[in-house]
């Protein structure tokens, strides 16, 4: 900057950003504190901001035995269900959308524009607005309480197709020309050229879709009725009982910490890809 700054202009950003970080971190810190306490301290309203010494005990209890009360499913199993759901949705979306984008960009065929618009329009139909008819179809197909029923209806969406289409448009035409001169067909060109070039886009989309899948709520709430199919986000909700006296908060908070850990780690560790994926899927 060209001007001399008053000392307060140096302190102010740190002050505001520090408060922002505090606001963002504090609820999660408090959940961690809750997970380290004994039930009586929380229930009697004596909880402060100092952690207790029951962290390991509470964690092993929820992970292996489950919270009891409303849901007896061990959280370890819920974590696995959430992981399967997030992976199937993320990988499924990437596979079907890269294939459809490839078809739309690298071929000329009748109804090409129509096919693109059919996919594109799904942007306007989030699952929440057509929830019961979709539920009914999944039920009629006998897919309630199955991984397929949980994941496939969430796999189709335009975002992935749009992302890959946009990326493919930036691949120079010289590459396909060279490939065609070598006598390569569409499959060869896809595997040898397009796929390796798309790796960063794939990874960025994966990060976003993994989080999307992991955090699903309404859909699994309707589609899964068995405890053995329960995802961790649904599991926590079931631990918060309306008659508050029955809620085992230390266990619910231990579960909340476990539920946040995988997607938060993905964001922090793969920050660059995450930011890129977020910005690109929103374009």
């Amino acid at each position: 900057m060209v001007e001399h700054r008053h000392w307060s202009m140096h302190v102010l950003p740190h002050l505001i950003l520090g408060l922002g970080v505090l606001l963002v971190v504090f609820p999660v810190y408090l959940a961690f504190v809750g997970a380290t306490l004994d039930p009586a301290t929380i229930a009697n309203g004596q909880m402060g901001v100092v952690p207790g010494n029951r962290f390991i005990e509470n964690m092993s209890r929820v992970l292996l035995a489950g919270a009891g009360g409303s849901t007896r499913e061990p959280v370890l199993h819920m974590l696995w269900n959430s992981f399967v759901m997030a992976m199937v949705i993320a990988i499924g979306k990437i596979v079907i959308s890269i294939l459809s984008a490839y078809a739309v960009v690298y071929f000329r065929f009748p109804l090409r524009k129509t096919a693109f618009w059919v996919i594109f329009m799904t942007l306007m139909l989030p699952v929440e607005v057509r929830i019961y008819p979709t539920y009914k179809i999944v039920a009629d197909l006998g897919m309630l309480d199955t991984v397929a029923g949980l994941c496939i209806p969430l796999i189709a969406s335009a975002t992935g197709t749009l992302l890959f289409r946009q990326f493919f448009m930036t691949i120079p035409d010289e590459l396909i020309e060279a490939s065609q001169m070598d006598g390569a067909g569409p499959v060869r060109f896809f595997i040898d050229t397009v796929l390796p070039l798309s790796l960063t886009s794939i990874a960025a989309l994966f990060v976003i879709q993994f989080i999307y899948g992991w955090n699903q709520y309404l859909w699994p709430l309707l589609i899964t009725s068995k405890d053995s199919m329960q995802t961790i986000v649904i599991g926590i909700k079931k631990m918060i009982v309306t008659q508050d006296a029955l809620t085992e908060w230390q266990l619910a908070m231990a579960t909340a910490v476990l539920a946040m850990l995988p997607p938060v780690l993905v964001v922090v560790v793969m920050q660059k890809l995450f930011v890129r994926g977020l910005v690109e899927t929103e374009k």
């Binding site: 202009m9 609820p27 408090l30 079907i96 071929f107 019961y132 569409p186 909700k237 929103e282």
Partner: protein
């Protein structure tokens, strides 16, 4: 926007498109059509037969005082969350855009709530404000405020607004920061040479240049509040007390699942679809502008 060079095959592309088209038709279009059909039908008490009732379901929806209440709740909720989360994250982004020490660390510490599920965000905030044992609820009580989101509708609304805002800050922060970094530094320096103070530089140069980002985020935030906050509301208030936090989407769910009124629920779905299409159309007009920008 078409490639000059392409493959001649007509069958390969259809095979490539098949998985997505099948899933889209079965799980997107078919249910959407079903929703429209169901909205014109009424089922008998056992759900065995349904008859065509014309616009009866729509008439019922638009004469239901609770529907207008849900509209009001949605309007208050989305305006509050959009305004709060946009202003907080703009403030944070402006601070993080300066060349200060540890900017990267601040960024990391501010963006991760994006990964927290809305339902879990709701549970975290409920834990802090649960009337009998929450840390902040006790503090409020000590100050003489009779805080109880389980009984008081305004308190319940404040709680879900806080949880939804908290969850959305990271997203808005990221896009604001990207928008700020795209503004040429030379413009701001030129204004500084002309003697404009930082506050004035922000309102006369930075904020107007940032308006496409702000507008984009505004639309995204409204859509977020409409749909993604379902988990927060279901986990924290269950739409209560006395439906004071029942948004339009929550009502679609509650009427269909708990009330068993599938026709009415479907009619509400169709109305919502029209709203989403309108919102998306607005967003696309904006994207076109951004391209030529």
């Amino acid at each position: 926007m078409d490639k000059r060079v392409f493959f001649p095959s007509k069958t390969v592309p259809l095979l490539l498109l098949l998985p997505q088209l099948v899933i889209t038709l079965v799980f997107f279009y078919w249910p959407a059509v079903q929703a429209v059909v169901m909205s014109f039908q009424m089922e008998d008490a056992f759900g065995t037969t349904s008859e065509f009732v014309g616009f009866e379901n729509y008439t019922a929806v638009f004469t239901d005082p609770f529907y207008y209440r849900a509209m009001g709740v949605t309007a208050v909720f989305s305006t509050a969350v959009a305004f709060l989360s946009l202003s907080l994250s703009l403030l944070l982004a402006v601070m993080a855009d300066r060349d200060i020490k540890g900017a990267g660390l601040y960024r990391t510490l501010l963006i991760w709530p994006y990964a927290v599920a809305p339902a879990i965000a709701g549970v975290l905030w409920y834990f802090m404000f649960q009337p009998s044992l929450g840390l902040f609820a006790r503090m409020l009580r000590d100050w003489g405020i009779d805080w109880n989101p389980l009984l008081n509708g305004d308190h319940a609304m404040i709680l879900v607004v806080m949880a939804a805002t908290w969850k959305q800050i990271s997203y808005n922060f990221l896009f604001f920061l990207a928008g700020l970094q795209a503004i040429p530094k030379s413009l701001i320096e030129a204004a500084a040479i002309d003697g404009a103070r930082p506050f004035r530089r922000f309102w006369t140069i930075v904020f107007p240049l940032l308006s496409p980002t702000t507008f984009f985020l505004f639309v995204v935030n409204i859509v977020y509040v409409f749909f993604d906050t379902f988990g927060i509301i279901d986990a924290v208030t269950g739409g209560g007390p006395a439906k004071t936090t029942t948004t339009l989407v929550f009502k679609v769910y509650a009427d269909g699942r708990l009330g068993g009124d599938l026709g009415g629920s479907a009619a509400q779905s169709v109305v919502l679809m029209v709203m989403v299409i309108a919102l998306t159309a607005i967003q696309f007009r904006f994207i076109e502008r951004k391209v030529s920008y």
